[in-house]
Structure formats: C-alpha cells, structure tokens
C-alpha cells in the first residue's frame, strides 16, 4: 500500500463498498474500545488516514508478542489495519537479515525522521549487553538510536513495558523496560504476556485513525483498554458479590462457575480488557475456562507471591456487599455494576460497614 493514498481510497480500490467501510469503522471503534457514537468521527478520520511509517524492534523476548499480533492477521478488519500500517522494519518477520535488514531500518529512519512510530517488544539487557544483539549491535544502542527520530514509542508486552519475566528475580541479564532508558518521547505501554491481539491492533488503529496516542494511565497504559480491573468487568463478579466462591478446582463452586478469588485470582488488582474483549475472536479468557487471572499485564506480576495464593479474604461479603447492591435498587450483575458507578458510590457512602474498599474500585 503506497504512502500517498488515503485509507478510504485504498479500500475503495479493493472493492470495499461504503457499507463495508462502515462495518470496518464500527469494528475499529469496537477494537479501540470507543463508544459506537464515535463511529462517524472515526469514519471521517480513517477515510483521510495515510499510511504511517512503522519500525518494530524485538529485543529480549520469546516472540509471543509478535505471534499474538500476527495470529490475528487473517483477511479481517485487523488485517486491513495491519495492511495499512505495514511495517518498514521487523527483524523477526523480515526475510532479509543482518546488514540488508539494518539498511532497511536506517532508510526508514532517514526518510521519516521525527514521524515514524517505533514499536518495541522484549526487555533490554543492560547488565551484560552480550545477552542480546542484532547484527552485532546491542539492544540498548539500537533502541537509543532508533528512538531519536520516533514520534512515539509503543512498548508491546510486559517485557518492553515493565521488564517482564527477564526482569524477575534475580534478573540475570539486568533487564530493564523501554521507559527506563527513554525519557524524552511519548511511550505507550501495551502490557500483557502476551497482550491481547486486538488491544495491540486497537492502539495501532488509534494512531492510524487520529495520528495521536490515546490517553494513558499512571502506568503508561491506554485507559480505554486498561481503565478497569478484570474483576470489575468479570461476568463472575455477581458471585463474588453474593459471596459464592470456588474453594478448589474441582468442587461444586468450580463446576457452577463461581468466583475464583479464593483460588488466587488476581483480577481485582489487574487492569486489562480480557473480561470483555476476550481471546481468540472473543471466544473465552482464563477465568471463563476456570483458572484465575495471573495478572500478566501488571508490573512484576511474576514476583507477586504465587498464582494460587488469594489476595485477601473478604469480610463476610454475603451480607455486606449484597446489602449494598440491594440498597441501590438494581439487579446485581457486572454489567450493571459497571454501568451504575454513581448508584454504587451512593450505596457505598450510605453503608460504611462495607470494609473491602480495596477491592471495590
């Protein structure tokens, strides 16, 4: 796809009707977790969008992040977005190797200096640079050099965003995150081990659509995907509210799909979109398959004290929390809870006996 054609023109030439484009925009809005009311604005922006230059650097990583992204690359809406932002340089995916590949990177940098988007996956070993080099260049040097001309950087995966598993105790390579080395560029963290494919695509779609980076939280994550805990958007939340928990992986509660909190689920402290976006084209996510969330999109999730250890045990949640829900006069349900923040806040302020505020964000 050439640089000088808009996305609207490119799609039209591929025989995509206006209806097809509307479908593309509706799905893109959904991808970006933006409300459907923004579809007209998204359509207007996407129609005029031009292909940005993108360089992808893979450092100390397991290729899981690249797999996650490219596995969603069927002839779909994601495919169209990826086609539009197609990469100028991706070491792992590139046919050319070493000096030829490096030449491509240098060309892309030169031609689009100050304008290209830099995507990074993997952490950067600073203890001993020899742990990871590309064409003889250390990861740190390549990152610093490539970051100079970037408009913004996307740290894809928990390794690039926070150091990830390489940084887990005792961190033999001296792994650090992108944000530990780069201080003068906007950095978007897209954590997850791996991140949800549509979340990666959603962030790229945002950049393609609006030419800007989305609003970020304190941990550098796009609020639109990481604004709520998995617990707050979990379909099993009503069982938590009623105090119904699985106590082991094969008891009655497990079979009935009750809350996995006591089995170590980290959903209450994990910010990610798994509970709504889900995985594999919306099929399922870990909690739906009966396993607690391990918190893979949180900094240092590997060292947080064990995947099967409960965070804390709520104080008699049956009477306290169910009472609060009843006082709000609404049917209990995660959807309702999410969509009735104010009612819930009112209820909480009237019921000071609710003592699990740390879980009730």
């Amino acid at each position: 796809m050439s640089y000088d054609k808009t996305l609207g023109e490119a799609l039209r030439r591929q025989g995509v009707s206006r209806r097809g484009f509307m479908k593309f925009c509706a799905t893109t809005a959904s991808l970006m977790a933006l409300p459907p009311s923004m579809v007209p604005a998204i359509a207007a922006a996407l129609e005029q969008a031009r292909r940005p230059s993108v360089i992808w650097l893979s450092f100390q990583e397991c290729t899981g992040c690249t797999e996650s992204l490219t596995r969603s690359h069927s002839p779909t809406v994601e495919g169209l977005i990826l086609g539009q932002i197609s990469l100028d340089y991706h070491h792992t995916l590139q046919a050319a190797a070493d000096s030829a590949a490096e030449h491509a990177r240098e060309e892309a940098m030169k031609e689009n200096y100050g304008k290209y988007l830099l995507i990074v996956d993997g952490s950067i070993p600073v203890g001993n640079p020899g742990y990871s080099t590309i064409a003889g260049i250390s990861n740190k040097d390549m990152l610093l050099e490539t970051a100079k001309g970037a408009a913004a950087i996307v740290s894809v995966g928990t390794c690039a965003a926070y150091g990830g598993i390489p940084k887990a105790n005792p961190n033999p390579t001296g792994a650090v995150a992108v944000s530990d080395l780069i201080k003068d560029k906007p950095i978007i963290n897209v954590p997850g081990c791996p991140p949800i494919p549509v979340v990666i695509t959603g962030v790229l779609a945002h950049y393609l659509t609006f030419g800007t980076i989305p609003e970020l939280d304190d941990a550098g994550r796009p609020k639109v995907f990481y604004g709520e805990t998995i617990h707050d958007r979990c379909y099993r939340r009503p069982f938590y509210d009623k105090g119904l928990f699985a106590e082991s992986f094969d008891d009655e509660g497990a079979r009935k799909g009750w809350c996995l909190f006591k089995l170590g689920c980290k959903a209450p402290v994990t910010y990610n979109a798994c509970a709504t976006t889900k995985w594999n084209a919306g099929t399922s996510f870990p909690i739906q398959s009966g396993h607690g969330c391990i918190g893979c999109s949180e900094p240092n999730f590997w060292d947080l004290g064990g995947f099967y250890k409960a965070l804390s045990v709520p104080n008699d949640p049956v009477t306290l929390v169910a009472g609060a829900a009843a006082a709000a006069g609404v049917a209990a349900g995660a959807a309702m809870a999410m969509r009735n923040r104010k009612a819930k806040a009112d209820a909480k302020s009237k019921h000071q006996t609710v003592t699990i505020d740390d879980l009730e964000k």
């Binding site: 591929q14 025989g15 995509v16 009707s17 206006r18 209806r19 097809g20 509307m22 479908k23 593309f24 509706a26 799905t27 809005a29 959904s30 991808l31 977790a33 409300p35 459907p36 009311s37 579809v39 069927s74 002839p75 779909t76 809406v77 495919g79 169209l80 958007r233 979990c234 379909y235 099993r236 939340r237 009503p238 069982f239 009655e252 079979r255 009935k256 799909g257 509970a275 709504t276 976006t277 594999n280 084209a281 919306g282 099929t283 399922s284 739906q288 398959s289 009966g290 609404v330 049917a331 209990a332 349900g333 995660a334 959807a335 309702m336 999410m338 969509r339």
Partner: protein, 142 residues
Amino acid sequence: MIGRPIDIPIRAENGDEPVSHGNALPLLHEVRHALERLLAAGEETVIDLRSIPMGPGDEARLEAELGTGEVSARLETAIGPSVALETRFPGVWLITHYNSEEQILSRFIEVTEVPAILRSQPEDVREGLDSLSEQLLQQTNE
C-alpha cells in the same frame, strides 16, 4: 447463526441449562430505555456487545430473551458478511459482523428503525448509477 465461536460453557450440575450470571437483565433494561428514547425523540442507540461482561450463559440468555422478529438480513461485503436480525422487540436489532472466514469481528445491539448498515449509501448509489448508465449506453449502441 453462522461461524459462532465454540463456547466452553460452565454448566450447572443438571447439565442442561447454562448458568446465567445476571448480566443479560441489566442490558435488557438498557434496551428498554433506548426504545423509549427511540419512540419519544427518534434517538438511536448502539450498544457494543464487546464492551459488556458476558459469561457463556449470559449471551445465550440475552439471545433467548431478545428472540427473533420479523426481519433477517444478510449483507455481503468485500471484508466478509454481516447479519442483521430484528429481535422480537421491533426496533431492537442484533448486528453481527463477520470476517471472510465467518469469524465474529464485532457485535452490536442497535435500537433504531433500521440498522445504518442496511441502508444504501450515497457513495455506492453514485457508483451504481454510473455503471447502470454505462451499461445502458452500451446496449443502445449495440
């Protein structure tokens, strides 16, 4: 329904009825309010089902509650088909977009007199008119 992903359902011990997690009911209330706005002011509402927490039982429950109505429409586009079903509540439509491998891309409830995606779009009408004119010109010359 075409190309629906395979659920890994968590079922109650009787094994027949999927457990509902209570997430369908609030959505139905939202639909009710949207219908009132549609009747009162012609205001349309679109709900992105990807943004709603849904257990396997919830989605089945929601679909059962919404049921099927008078109209079912299929749209074929270059980026895959879409299906728009009117539910048994007229004005409430369930829209599912598929990719060309019939996997679900996105799903919406639209509360509207007719989903926007079914309307012929001026850009496409213009192109079709050009091609009809061309075709008629050729036949006149034959």
